[in-house]
Amino acid sequence: MADSPIAVEHHNPALKHHFANMEQQREASSLGMWLFLATEIMFFGGMFCAYLIYRYWYFPDFAAASKSLDITLGAVNTAVLICSSLTVVMAVRAAQLGKRQEQVVYLALTLVLGLAFLGIKGVEWTSKFKEHHIPGPTFNFEGSVPGHPDQPVDQHHAQLFFSLYFAMTGMHALHMIIGVGIFSYLLYHAWKGKYTPEYHTPLENSGLYWHFVDIVWIYLFPLLYLIDRKK
């Protein structure tokens, strides 16, 4: 299977009946994936819109609430995701070059990193829970506005920050969880040697998805964690 000549193309078992050839099939699913990512941009866009507006309205309170987030964990998580993006890229590359072993290793690494991200997120959320920063009847945020030590933070506005924080990171984590599911599936099939230089579209498209989720985080990190750290 590994050294299949081009002539096999027409019999490639992965070719669906309604496509003329593998090329057409690959291009179709790649375009499909990109369009899906476009919808994802708009999906997160709705929340970014809400976030921007309230941040504009309640900047001091948002800054204070943002300061209560753990910047180290946030930064580490960003790094974890960036590393996982690299391993995904390398896994795709391994598939392109037909290296099964490498593929499996990189996919496994990706999974580990993805789970690490979720783990760290879990730690952060737990501490938010302990601090009563979960929106709801028990919500309580103590502290003052950065730069104005005697101006207490408005509870409602801080709660809004955390509502958006949980909505956005929650939705992001949901995407990560789905990603972990997808990559487990890929790992299994890569193990079985399903992805060859001729056919590895699922791997490629899942990679696109993973990178997209990474990009969302690249924006979430400064927007949520770094609103105003200087004072």
Partner: protein
């Protein structure tokens, strides 16, 4: 006997396999189209049933037929069912599904299984919506305005929100499938300039579905979360802004009105050249105007919020932009008219619907210009003037277009002809009933009758009675095609492959088409609407 002919019939997508399973697990775009046809027809009649109850309640000024709360649920679910479960999927998911691959010379849509998935999502959403209706319903208005929906209504907002959320994904997947198919699956020689304009219209529609629907999805998620957990995002008592909801809602729901109208415009653009036996006037302008409507449609959403408390400056911007989107619509109307010039016109049923469409869409669109004019909108917003405006476009326009398309392609879909004279009669009844129902509402609106009113001052009664009378006529007009379509499936004349002498690849396949559409991939070396070279059919002579 007609059935005798059936036995000798060629193999086609309908008779290739039998049994429930062969339908429920099918990945054939044509069968999925029929699954959609059944489901949206079901929801259309549910929505229509609610409409009739609304109209009956409004027969008298007092609130006497149903309770106030029931009435509120009726118009809410009428709107939600009609918009999300009938009109948005109607033409794309039925005619589009059936025709897009056929028209561009493909064997199927790019992702047949996703296509089936999208039907199942629709059904799951539909069942949820039905469950919601049967267990108490929802009373927020189809617009879900906060904080009423999040903090005050004690009906099943969450369930209805989730139903619409899920149906949104069905819509996204359909759009995604179309865009990929149109880009990747065209037959050799089927260049962008040779695409039927129906395809262009669906392409434009799909863009909106892809970029708009996710925003309503996330908005509904936020509404559900807000209602369940009191996050405060739309709640003024917790620092939130209820207008933010309106912005996000209309960011989708204004473009969504073009999801509803563009496909119908596409249908009309197929029908008019066929029955005028001429190439469409200004092909490229019509194609580009579809794209123009789709893109500009995203710039105008806050024209639904002129009195909602947005800034004066924002109102000015959105009003001005609203007029931009009217220009491509004008282009279409003029091109349809010009296509008839020096044509050779017959008045078959689809053409009658097309006439109805052009007339009623124009009226609906022109009243849209009233609404986009700031000073006027302040007076008529949230009155029956708005109700009349959008029913003119959505019922007079989109539903007419849908029915016209159903008649036009019915021979291809079913392999049978419908009874022509009954068809024309039904078209006439729909047209008359429609105008009687909704024209009085323009006057009511300007007089000041607010919408979503269960009872109203007595001086509005005469016009309301007219409207109610019209709606019963309309009901007859809609029941009729349903009856004779069903009848024709068994007793109708067997349809030839190309009964109208129409251009387009779909007419070059047998009626009904075989499962894989084309035996060999067709190669296209002619322009679209090549009516010069297609003989007119003999039997469809002018019905004058």
């Amino acid at each position: 006997m007609a059935t005798a002919a059936l036995t000798a019939e060629r193999e086609n997508y309908l008779n290739q396999e039998y049994g429930i399973k062969s339908w429920l697990l099918t990945v054939d775009h044509k069968r999925i189209a029929l699954l959609y046809l059944l489901s949206i027809t079901f929801f259309f009649f549910i929505g229509g049933f609610f409409a009739l109850l609304i109209r009956l309640e409004l027969l008298t000024p007092a609130g006497d037929l149903v309770q106030a709360d029931t009435y509120n649920k009726l118009f809410t679910m009428h709107g939600q069912v009609m918009v999300f479960f009938f009109l948005i999927p109607s033409i794309p998911a039925v005619l589009g599904n059936f025709l897009v691959p056929l028209m561009i010379g493909a064997k199927d849509l790019a992702f047949p299984r996703i296509n089936l998935l999208s039907w199942y999502l629709y059904i799951i959403a539909g069942v949820l919506m039905l469950h919601c209706m049967l267990t108490g319903g929802v009373d927020t208005g189809w617009t879900f305005y906060t904080p009423f929906s999040t903090a005050f209504s004690n009906t099943k907002v969450i369930e209805a929100g989730l139903a619409i959320f899920i149906s949104g994904f069905s819509s996204i997947l359909t759009g995604l499938n179309f865009v990929v198919t149109i880009h990747r699956m065209r037959a050799p020689g089927m260049t962008w300039n040779r695409l039927p304009l129906f395809i262009w219209a669906h392409y434009a529609t799909s863009i909106i579905q892809l970029l708009g629907t996710p925003v309503i999805a996330v908005t509904l998620v936020l509404v559900v979360l807000e209602r369940a957990l009191h996050l405060g995002i739309f709640d003024p008592t917790r620092g939130g802004d209820p207008l933010l909801f309106q912005h996000l809602f209309w960011f989708y729901s204004h473009p969504a009105v073009y999801i509803m109208i563009l496909p119908a415009m596409g249908v009309v653009t197929e029908i008019v050249p066929c029955f005028a036996r001429k190439r469409i006037f200004g092909y490229q302008f019509v194609a580009m105007s579809s794209i123009g409507i789709a893109v500009l449609g995203f710039l105008v959403w806050a024209h639904h919020m002129f009195v909602a408390g947005i800034s004066l400056y924002a109102a000015l911007i959105f009003s001005a932009l609203s007029y931009l989107v009217a220009v491509p619509s004008a282009i279409k109307v003029f091109n349809w008219t010009a296509t008839m010039y020096k044509g050779s016109i017959t008045f078959s049923t689809p053409m009658l619907y097309a006439f109805g469409f052009v007339g009623l869409f124009t009226m609906g669109g022109l009243t849209g210009l009233f609404l986009a004019a700031l000073g006027i909108d302040v007076h008529v917003t949230d009155t029956y003037f708005v109700i009349a405006h959008f029913h003119y476009i959505m019922v007079g326009g989109a539903v007419m277009g849908y029915l016209g398309g159903m008649h036009f392609w019915w021979p291809k879909i079913s392999g049978r002809m419908y009874p022509e004279s009954l068809g024309r009669l039904a078209a006439l009844i729909v047209f008359l009933g429609f105008n009687l129902t909704f024209f009085p509402q323009f006057i009511l609106g300007y007089l000041g009758m607010p919408r979503r009113y269960w009872q109203y001052p007595p001086e509005f009664q005469v016009l309301n009675v007219l409207s109610t009378a019209g709606s019963t006529i309309l009901a007859v007009g809609y029941l009729l095609p349903m009856v004779y379509f069903l009848w024709s499936m068994r007793y109708g004349k067997v349809a030839p492959d190309n009964p109208w002498g129409a251009s387009g690849l779909e007419w070059m396949t047998p009626s009904p088409p075989p499962t894989f559409n084309f035996d060999a991939p067709p190669v296209v070396d002619w322009e679209a609407y090549d009516y010069e070279h297609i003989p007119a059919p003999q039997e469809a002579r002018s019905g004058g």
